[in-house]
């Protein structure tokens, strides 16, 4: 096990896959000569050259479509969208071309491409550089959506996404690239479907994904030590499809649920998980599930306002205490 950073894990997955298969390429803004905004493609340009590590113009719709077109012929492009906010410009190609081409061609064409993007709010980047957009991607038929919460997942999910014949969107997080964690020394493929139990517990399930898994883990620690509440933390690394069986199993055990997301509430992961709970195990519930989420505002620049807009582990603790009538 190597203890490496999230960006190093992503870089390693790229490197191994590019060394294995000459049709794996990567493309995006500043990923080559400049080494990548978050270093996720560091050293690849020097190793694989400009034909396979493509510094693109700032044309998200254009280069995303170009990568998708190449994938029709078996090329496996890993397309980096520097910030998920810019993905709006590429969504026509992601949704109308990549996600639909297999279906509308009756299975003849397929788009085995990977879209990687830095999501999440960092620090004071303002309204147009702080969006969380996983909710937009997870409702699209034909597109898989995963979101790594640690270096092991970042490595293993990218490996699996490159090998998978379906288009996969990987939602990373701007604040997590320097996070360290254990990654297996040998090749490892993280499943693109399912969920992980990040911490086992019996009294309440805290559902998180990506950065909110860490709020949940911290909250679980506090709940255990200060309140004697045993919280289970479920890591929903696959947002599409969501793990119905995993959600059902955990809620059937704990009978209570809190869903923590950095995204805003409407039409989001929280509402979807609650719908699944209702459909799968409503009568197992001892209390109404609660969502923890961002305020529905364009992200403010001001530090205090920004902090107020985004939840953290304390909000998760409060939500649990509310369920137990202790708030």
């Amino acid at each position: 096990m190597a203890n490496i950073m999230y960006w190093e894990a992503i870089q390693r997955a790229h490197d191994e896959e590019m060394a294995r298969d000459p049709l794996v390429i990567c493309m995006g803004e500043d990923i080559g000569v400049a080494g990548g905004t978050y270093k996720a493609t560091k050293g690849l340009y020097e190793k694989y050259g400009p034909l396979r590590v493509m510094d693109t113009p700032i044309s998200e719709g254009g280069f995303t479509g170009l990568g998708i077109g190449a994938s029709f012929l078996g090329v496996r492009p890993v397309i980096e969208i520097m910030s998920v906010n810019f993905a709006w410009l590429a969504m026509d190609q992601m949704f109308n071309s990549a996600a639909k081409v297999r279906y509308m061609s009756g299975g003849q064409l397929t788009a085995p491409c990977v879209f990687r993007s830095a999501g999440g709010a960092a620090h004071q980047l303002g309204a147009q550089h702080s969006a969380r957009m996983e909710k937009v991607f997870m409702g699209i038929a034909g597109l898989r959506v995963v979101t790594p919460s640690n270096p092991k997942q970042a490595y293993g999910l990218l490996k699996s996404a490159i090998r998978c014949d379906d288009p996969v969107f990987i939602n990373e997080h701007e604040l997590m690239y320097n996070m360290k964690g254990e990654v297996p020394d040998g090749e490892y493929f993280h499943p693109l479907e399912g969920s992980d139990i990040a911490r086992a517990g019996t009294d309440v399930t805290l559902f998180g994904y990506n950065i909110s898994v860490h709020w949940c883990l911290k909250a679980a620690e506090i709940l255990d030590k200060q309140y004697g509440i045993s919280a289970e933390v479920v890591d929903l690394y696959s947002l599409s499809p969501l793990d119905r069986a995993g959600i059902k199993a955990s809620v059937s055990k704990t009978h209570r649920a809190v869903i923590a997301e950095e995204d805003e509430a409407p039409v989001g992961v929280g509402s979807e998980v609650i719908a699944i709970i209702n459909e799968e195990c409503f009568f197992e519930l001892d209390a109404a599930p609660v969502r923890v989420h961002s305020a529905l505002v364009p992200q403010p620049y001001n530090h205090t306002l920004e902090k107020a807009a985004i939840p953290d582990h304390e909000d998760v603790v409060k939500a649990v205490l509310k369920i137990f009538g202790k708030a």
């Binding site: 254009g62 479509g65 077109g69 190449a70 509308m104 003849q108 379906d166």
Partner: protein, 333 residues
């Protein structure tokens, strides 16, 4: 073009015309649903370019006015008609419809319904050719109105920057849906817009197939020789409306009649008659044979083919699950 090729292409163009006119009738009869965009008037564009290229070898992609391009690449007209009928035997198994004809085996990479959407896809296909080292080229057929999308400019820039083997064919039929090019576009002659990207570009008459063929030969040679992209603008006209819901209130009947004087099929027919290669009676026989083929084989096949099964509704959303299990479950061998 050789006489024999001209005779063969005339036969193909008559098939393309009669196929589309038969679609019109089937649409009126409600056998075909959705939107239907027909090609009559523009036949010399697709045929002229593809005569200069290698159908089935070169990769072709286009917009939603796509039936003729598919057939020209080698798609079976029966499968295309069955697709319009929404049948399981259709070229996209009834899942695509008129705007999404595909034939992967014939390298017809599809019809797409977002105006301009195929531009970057075509460049990507060219990128894949470049990586794999083949002698194929990518050919992107789109209308003039697609050039008002941002991806037109983004794609031209990247295609020139990376010297991609892609030929952009602009079928300038003077209307974007129901708005004339003068009212939507600051520059009517589209090849002029390409100059900014250092891409060689040419414009020619899109009604005379021999003129199209000569211009396309130059274009195809340029791209296939590794010189990067090329842009060919063909001045043409669609006789019917943008789609079936279009009563053509935005243009005059006089203008339509003027263009019909330069019908691509009649231009070629009259030349062959003048050259003594065929007679008017031969042409009339050809039309009758074509209609009989369409009725007795194409329509019959579409009519008699089965509907897709409702149990298969979700088939083709994702790759066959059994083949993907190592990545979906993480249990790689």
């Amino acid at each position: 073009m050789k006489i024999e090729d001209k005779k063969r292409v005339l036969r193909e163009m008559v098939l393309h015309r009669r196929f589309e006119e038969r679609c019109y009738q089937a649409y009126i009869e409600r056998k075909i649903g959705g939107f239907l965009h027909l090609y009559p008037g523009q036949e010399a564009c697709c045929n002229g370019v593809m005569e200069a290229a290698r159908p089935g070898h070169d990769y072709v992609i286009t917009g939603y006015r796509d039936h003729v391009h598919a057939i020209k690449c080698g798609a079976d007209p029966k499968a295309v008609m069955a697709e319009l009928y929404g049948k399981e035997t259709g070229s996209s198994k009834g899942r695509g419809g008129s705007m999404h004809i595909f034939d992967g085996d014939k390298r017809f990479m599809g019809g797409y319904a977002l105006v301009g959407g195929p531009f970057p896809l075509a460049a990507g296909i060219a990128k894949a050719i470049q990586l794999k080292g083949g002698d194929e080229i990518a050919i992107c057929f789109l209308g003039d109105a697609a050039n008002n999308q941002g991806v037109f400019h983004e794609t031209l820039n990247m295609a020139a920057l990376w010297k991609l083997p892609v030929l952009f064919v602009c079928e300038n039929n003077l209307y974007g849906i129901g708005t004339s090019i003068e009212r939507s576009t600051a520059v009517v002659h589209q090849h002029k817009r390409v100059a900014a990207y250092n891409i060689p570009a040419d414009e020619c008459d899109g009604q005379d197939i021999e003129i199209v063929y000569e211009a396309a030969r130059k274009a195809v040679d340029h791209v296939r020789s590794g010189n990067g992209p090329y842009f060919l603008e063909l001045m043409t006209y669609r006789y019917r409306g943008h789609s079936m819901s279009d009563s053509r209130g935005y243009r005059s009947r006089e203008e339509e009649e003027l263009w019909k004087q330069r019908d691509p099929i009649f231009i070629l027919r009259d030349r062959l008659i003048k050259d003594g290669a065929m007679s008017m009676a031969d042409f009339e026989t050809l039309e009758k044979e074509t209609d009989a083929y369409i009725e007795n084989e194409v329509i019959k096949f579409a009519e008699e083919s089965p509907e897709p099964r409702v149990e298969d509704l979700e088939k083709y959303v994702f790759a066959d699950r059994a083949t993907q299990l190592p990545w979906l479950t993480g249990k790689a061998a």
